[in-house]
């Protein structure tokens, strides 16, 4: 059969094979947890994708109705367990919004140090696992080596390596141990050149570009329509970050800080650091850009941490401790979204005036980011499905709650 069209097109449209249903997950390494995806395929081409979730459902919202906000805090660690600190902050700020309480200057800067470190750790896992999904093992080891150092720092702060419950309603559980800032500074100095190594390993790696550039292109309008947020939204070129655009109780935390929202506007990423160039194959909104936004955000988080450490050292006063465990809550409703590493994480608390909330609601960022998967996977090759799933950086603990 002779044709002027390229070979791949002939396979796609002229030859059809028997339709086949493939089940991917819930125990599949590249689904990042217990996600199950049912694929309907025509040969190598995926025609329909149906995600099935709920394998990690632990009734977090119902549990919240039976505990006081401070007792509920450890459950927030187990939502996005790769960024427990950011989950703690989201819940703490939401309850503080209801209480009408603001933390001291020193606590505010301390919270930024901790949550931005947590953001780096989360983005490192995202980049490393993404490399692993696409068959490259070294980035996984290298990013986990760096993440380990962040976990060591967190362990010194609160004793836990994964489920911290450190940032809590009213403040934090304890001030930083002595000498910690120096060790954090040493980590950042050591980590900065490692980012360039990671860029050399993945970002401009020809195989990586082949597997990610132009794959799973998400249009900005569709991203907003499906409620995608965080790096997934910014990877599509939408300049939107709650750290700058959110509610005052959250954006006030970042007041006085110099940093940039990472999004490609006018075809350009911010040029405040020698970032590698965008390869010509990459299309705005594809898997490569979602990965790249995370890598650039790591650098911004480093800037934030450096500023926060200086501001923290200069700030007078003391660090605020936790609120009372069984204090009565004011009657009312408060909903607050914060910028977690995976996207906008929302918590809602409805109180009837007793110490235990009447209703707790958790709006998960990965839940919305995953819901766009059937759109992204329509018509791609089977091998590209893990590439698209990995680029969304899902955490099932947060999706299933």
């Amino acid at each position: 059969m002779m044709s002027d069209r390229p070979a791949s097109e002939i396979v796609d449209f002229d030859v059809h094979t028997d339709e086949m249903l493939i089940n991917m997950g819930p125990q599949h390494p590249s689904t990042h947890g217990v996600l199950r995806v049912a694929l309907r395929t025509d040969g190598e081409v995926v025609t329909e994708v149906t995600p099935h979730i709920g394998y990690l459902h632990r009734s977090a919202e119902k549990i919240g109705e039976n505990l006081t906000p401070r007792q509920f805090l450890p459950y927030t660690d187990r939502l996005d367990y790769l960024a427990g600190m950011n989950m703690n902050l989201g819940w703490a700020l939401c309850v503080e919004k209801l209480l009408g309480q603001r933390v001291s200057e020193k606590t505010r800067h301390l919270r930024i140090i901790i949550t931005e470190l947590s953001r780096i750790a989360s983005h490192l896992v995202a980049a490393g696992c993404y490399g692993l999904d696409l068959g490259s093992f070294t980035p996984f080891m290298w990013t986990f080596r760096e993440r380990e150092k962040i976990l060591n720092l967190f362990e010194e702060v609160c004793g836990a390596r994964l489920t911290y419950s450190y940032i809590t309603v009213g403040g934090v559980t304890a001030d930083l141990p002595s000498g910690w800032l120096g060790r954090c500074e040493a980590f950042l100095d050591q980590f900065e050149p490692v980012i360039d190594d990671l860029h050399a390993l993945l970002t401009n790696n020809a195989i990586f570009i082949h597997r990610t550039a132009g794959i799973g292109v998400l249009e900005p309008a569709m991203a907003i329509d499906y409620g995608c947020t965080g790096p997934v939204l910014r990877g599509s070129g939408v300049d939107w970050d709650l750290r700058r655009d959110g509610e005052p109780i959250f954006t006030d935390m970042y007041e006085g800080y110099t940093w940039r929202v990472i999004a490609s506007t006018g075809g350009q990423y911010p040029q405040d650091h020698p970032y590698p160039p965008v390869p010509p194959e990459a299309v705005l909104g594809d898997s490569w850009h979602r990965y790249f936004v995370r890598m650039l955000e790591v650098v911004q988080s480093m800037y934030l941490i450096r500023q926060a450490m200086e501001k923290y050292s200069r700030a007078g006063g003391v660090v605020d401790g936790p609120a009372q465990v069984k204090a009565k809550l004011p009657k009312g409703e408060a909903y607050l979204e914060t910028e977690a590493p995976k996207g906008q994480m929302g918590f809602m608390i409805i109180s009837d005036g007793t110490p235990v909330p009447w209703r707790v609601r958790i709006r998960s960022s990965s839940f919305c980011n995953l819901s766009v998967l059937p759109e992204l996977c329509r018509g791609v090759l089977v091998a590209d499905v893990p590439s698209i799933v990995g680029s969304l950086d899902l955490v099932l603990g947060e999706i299933d709650r």
């Binding site: 907003i224 499906y226 409620g227 409703e333 408060a334 909903y335 709006r363």
Partner: protein, 176 residues
């Protein structure tokens, strides 16, 4: 745009459907009648000066006190409330919509109340409405595939209802 201004704009066209509002709340809200929800949402999304393009979250709250002693003290009648959090990326304003529903359709326990689906307005609503259906028991009319999302498909009951009782076992797996 402030919520007062949004409300004033909506009042011209949808006045009879707007039943209550609170501009002093932490998140100012407007309550709308269930029958007007879909058309109001379409308007909120399409009107260029409002353009609420991001639906953050749909929450269902069950107002029901199972304890008869405490039930005598509450000031509300048992009902179900849906809360829609909307955001406009273009104009950077927010809005909270509330819809009040009966706990059960025609007061028949086990029959979920019905309300129009907004999944045709925002795709976010697709999964959020499935979740509300799954956990709180609200039937969204016009949803293309309203089935459980977090619980297994053969699960019985709506776990976030205040009078929900955990089944003693599920396929031979004891729950207590």
């Amino acid at each position: 745009m402030k919520v007062q201004d949004i409300h004033a704009r909506l009042a011209d066209r949808f006045g009879p459907w707007l039943v209550a509002q609170d501009f002093e709340a932490l998140d100012p809200w407007i309550e709308v009648k269930p029958e007007g929800l879909l058309e109001l949402c379409r308007h909120l999304r399409r009107e260029p000066e409002l353009s609420f393009d991001l639906l953050n979250c749909i929450t269902a709250v069950d107002y029901f006190q199972p304890d008869p002693k405490k039930a005598a003290q509450v000031e509300w009648q048992p009902h179900l409330e849906l809360i829609y959090h909307l955001w406009s990326l273009a104009h950077r304003h927010r809005l909270v919509l509330k819809v009040r529903l009966p706990r059960w359709r025609d007061d028949q326990p086990g029959q979920p109340p019905e309300v129009a689906s907004v999944s045709g307005v925002w795709n976010t609503a697709d999964w959020h409405e499935r979740e509300v259906f799954d956990l709180s028991g609200v039937r969204f009319v016009g949803h293309r595939e309203l089935r459980r999302i977090l619980c297994p498909e053969d699960w019985v009951g709506y776990p976030l209802r205040k009078d929900y009782e955990m089944p003693a076992e599920y396929h031979g797996i004891p729950s207590r």
